[in-house]
């Protein structure tokens, strides 16, 4: 036996008799049940909270979409072109955030069917500037054929920049924002740092029209990337296996294009993996393929870039700045007025019926739906005072809206300052004003600050008021009468105009982060204040 065991003899494990009665056992049971319910509800609350914030943040931070394209997700960085000796490489300026592009995109970029902007491909507001080498003869013509397949055009459109050698193309692409050009692969061996290769997706799934027909209330709408891979590998024998109709699947070779195209057009259920330009050229149908796209939603670019095209492109930098402007000016207007009103109500006014009515009034005002304030702001500031829809109208309306909150919380804060502080100060010969400024306000400042933070929170989250008074311009606020957007309004516009779901969530995430930061800083400030005063 070791010495430790001798010193600490084992305690008997048997249950000891506990003095109890049916009554006390019942009470203990009740206690346990109550505790269980309380714990359960608390856990539920926390779970809901975590779930909401977590869902918003996850959706806001990452996007995860299945996007349909005419071509398969297969990316070629060096393109083997039929009929040319050299392979083809597309190069872009380093500043373009695009990694790869479908061949149809290249066609529109070089053809300027619309105001070409990289925003259509990667939401980056940047004008696309194509460049070609005039002196490349055959090669350029072949590429033109490739890009402009099916288009009856004699030459590249006028806005395409002309260069006279491959080196010039490279230096032009390197030196011009949003530039895109192409080179033979042999010239692209040693590219400078400011130029990168753009991948191209051009393989389409061309099918016989019978594949896309409705049969037994079924129809093939699209394929996932995995299904497309399986078809290309010859692992599918019937269209039913990939969500289509009951039709045997015949996979055709794309080597001898003319013969096989004829076969495709004449064979029911035939499919061919081929260059997308032949789909247009031979007038056959192709099946859209879903590409699984995932990545960061809330990026540095999103926060720092200016918004464009109603917020579909670019970022939200202007909108964040507008939000801060709105907060700043709202607090600038409302805090002094509200705190002074509270000082009057607590320190100076006679506590009578008038004060009771005033208190009831502020309480009622703080409970009125914000859209009513918006209506008032629109009628009064925008129309009657003729300020127009813009920053000043909205700031004043939001000021009116948050004023009751600030007055109420400041009033409570001032009331909670012990009377003994006031007496102590007055007994030292201080005036009432000195007492208020030097003793009462500092002692009440954590409470007043809480009110201001609440007001900031309300301002950040306000939408209804601003729809009527701030308008929807997504530029930076330039003056008192300029229309603008703030985060919540931007979120509302993105969502209601169905511009982009991902961007709606990213904006929402920014809002959540902003409010979290506000609250943390408020807590921090209050802690510091309390530490300094010793309360």
């Amino acid at each position: 036996m070791s010495s430790a065991e001798v010193l600490n003899p084992p305690v008997s494990k048997g249950r000891k008799e506990v003095v109890s009665s049916p009554q006390s056992r019942k009470l203990r049971m009740q206690e346990k049940v109550a505790k269980g319910i309380i714990w359960g509800l608390a856990a539920l609350t926390i779970a809901i909270l975590v779930w909401i914030v977590g869902y918003l943040m996850v959706k806001g931070l990452r996007y995860n979409n299945m996007t349909p394209y005419n071509v398969t997700p297969y990316v070629e960085r060096v393109i083997d072109l039929d009929g040319t000796e050299d392979d083809l490489v597309f190069i872009i300026n380093r500043g373009v955030r695009e990694q790869d592009i479908e061949v149809d995109g290249l066609r529109t970029l070089f053809n300027k069917r619309r105001n070409e902007n990289w925003g259509f491909y990667n939401e980056q507001n940047l004008r696309a500037q194509p460049v070609v080498n005039e002196n490349a003869g055959d090669f350029s013509v072949q590429v033109k054929d490739f890009i402009l397949a099916g288009e009856d055009l004699d030459d590249y459109r006028g806005y395409v920049e002309k260069a006279s050698s491959w080196d010039e193309v490279i230096s032009y692409v390197g030196g011009t924002e949003g530039a895109i050009g192409f080179l033979p692969a042999s010239e692209a061996a040693d590219l400078p740092r400011d130029v990168k290769v753009l991948g191209v997706r051009r393989k389409a799934i061309a099918v016989n029209p019978s594949v896309l027909m409705i049969k037994d209330s079924r129809m093939l709408r699209e394929l996932t990337d995995k299904q497309a891979e399986k078809i290309a590998a010859g692992e599918v024998s019937n269209w039913m296996e990939v969500g289509g109709t009951d039709l045997p699947l015949t996979l055709l070779d794309s080597e001898n294009i003319e013969v096989n195209m004829e076969a495709l057009q004449s064979t029911e259920g035939a499919v061919m993996l081929t260059d997308y330009r032949y789909v247009a050229e031979y007038g056959v149908r192709s099946v859209p393929v879903l590409r699984h796209e995932t990545g960061w939603n809330l990026t540095w670019h999103f926060i720092t870039e200016a918004p464009a095209r109603s917020g579909q492109w670019g970022g939200i930098s202007y909108i964040i700045i507008n939000t801060f402007f709105l907060i700043l000016f709202t607090i600038l207007f409302s805090a002094p007025v509200g705190v002074m009103a509270a000082i009057y109500m607590v320190e100076y006014a006679k506590q009578g019926r008038l004060m009771r009515i005033l208190r009831m009034g502020t309480e009622t005002l703080s409970g009125i739906p914000s859209i009513v304030f918006g209506l008032f702001g629109f009628i009064f500031f925008v129309r009657i005072l003729g300020m127009g829809i813009g920053f000043i109208s909205s700031t004043l309306t939001v000021t009116l809206m948050v004023l009751p909150t600030i007055i109420r919380t400041s009033e409570e804060a001032l009331k909670s300052v012990p009377q003994s502080f006031r007496e102590g100060s007055l007994a030292l010969g201080a005036t009432k004003l000195q007492t208020i400024i030097k003793v009462v306000l500092p002692a009440a400042s954590p409470g007043i600050l809480t009110g201001i933070i609440l007001a900031v929170g309300r301002t950040v989250g306000e939408t209804a008021v601003l729809i009527y008074t701030l308008g929807s311009n997504y530029d930076l606020v330039s003056g008192p009468s300029s229309s603008a957007r703030v985060l919540s309004l931007h979120l509302y516009m993105l969502f209601s105009e169905a511009l982009s779901f991902d961007r709606t969530f990213a904006t929402g995430a920014v809002l959540v982060i902003l409010i979290l930061l506000t609250n943390f800083s408020a807590t921090f400030m209050m802690k510091r204040m309390n530490k300094n005063s010793g309360m």
Binding site: F421, E423, A427, G429, A430, A443
Partner: protein, 252 residues
């Protein structure tokens, strides 16, 4: 020693709305003496004390009738209230340091009266704290929050804060009722020392305390002065049977 009258109260009547709290109170408070005000709860002794530096002005419903002269000038018509409160300081029942540092608490009074010079303020703070015998305890933590001090220290800080504005008279409204016995005895010692330079009026519930520290005692009953005279006489040879009953603990 020649002692002159510092505060002279004559026929003071005080009303809270319709309720009369003080009836024809007259009293002479002499310079550099400790005057104790005793009496049962609600007898008007605190109300009387608060009248002396016009703290009752803060209550809207109070009406005052009668003469109160400080240095032979009427405190309502001939003294500016700020000037009066500078001269007649007050220490309250519960220690009420402001939520700021010890230094700022003491410097608060001088600052509100326009002293900005840092060196002068430091001198005043040190002197006041030494007078309140708190200096040794707090000299290393002058810039720490005053609310971190113990109750007794806080009360001495409040006394120092009053002394910093260089008053003539110090009014004390039950200054030890919220303190432990040790802190109480320190404050009593302090009052004994302050007597050398200041006129002190103290309200107390504690009979022994009144006996220990005061030169004169006034016994208040139902808003009237039942008896006023040298403390020894009041305690050992009271002329009124009510006073005797109260002092011997028959009611209170």
């Amino acid at each position: 020693m020649d002692k002159t009258t510092k505060i002279n109260v004559k026929d003071l009547n005080l009303f809270y709305g319709d309720f009369q709290a003080l009836h024809n109170v007259s009293m002479d408070i002499r310079e550099k003496e400790v005057t104790a005000l005793i009496g049962p709860s609600g007898c008007g002794k605190s109300t009387f004390l608060r009248t002396l530096n016009r703290m009752n002005d803060l209550i809207d419903i109070v009406k005052i009738d009668g003469d109160i002269n400080y240095d032979d000038k009427d405190i309502y018509s001939q003294w500016d209230v700020i000037e009066l409160r500078k001269k007649v300081g007050m220490v309250f029942q519960k220690p009420n340091p402001f939520p700021m540092s010890i230094f700022d608490n003491i410097a608060y009074g001088p600052r509100t009266h326009g002293i900005k010079n840092k060196a002068i303020l430091s001198d005043i703070v040190e002197k006041s704290l030494q007078q309140a015998s708190l200096w040794e305890e707090v000299k290393d933590r002058l810039h720490k929050p005053a609310l971190g001090l113990s109750g007794g220290q806080q009360q001495r800080l409040c006394i120092a804060r009053v002394l910093a504005v260089e008053p003539d008279v110090v009014l004390m409204d039950e200054p030890t009722s919220a303190l432990d016995p040790i802190s109480t005895s320190r404050i009593e010692d302090l009052i004994d020392e302050l007597k050398q330079n200041y006129t002190i009026v103290i309200v107390t519930h504690n009979m022994q305390q009144a006996g220990r520290i005061s030169d004169k005692t006034a016994f208040f009953l139902h808003g009237k002065i039942e008896e006023f005279g040298p403390t020894d006489e009041i305690f050992f040879n009271p002329s009124s049977p009510k006073t005797e009953e109260y002092i011997s603990g028959k009611f209170g």
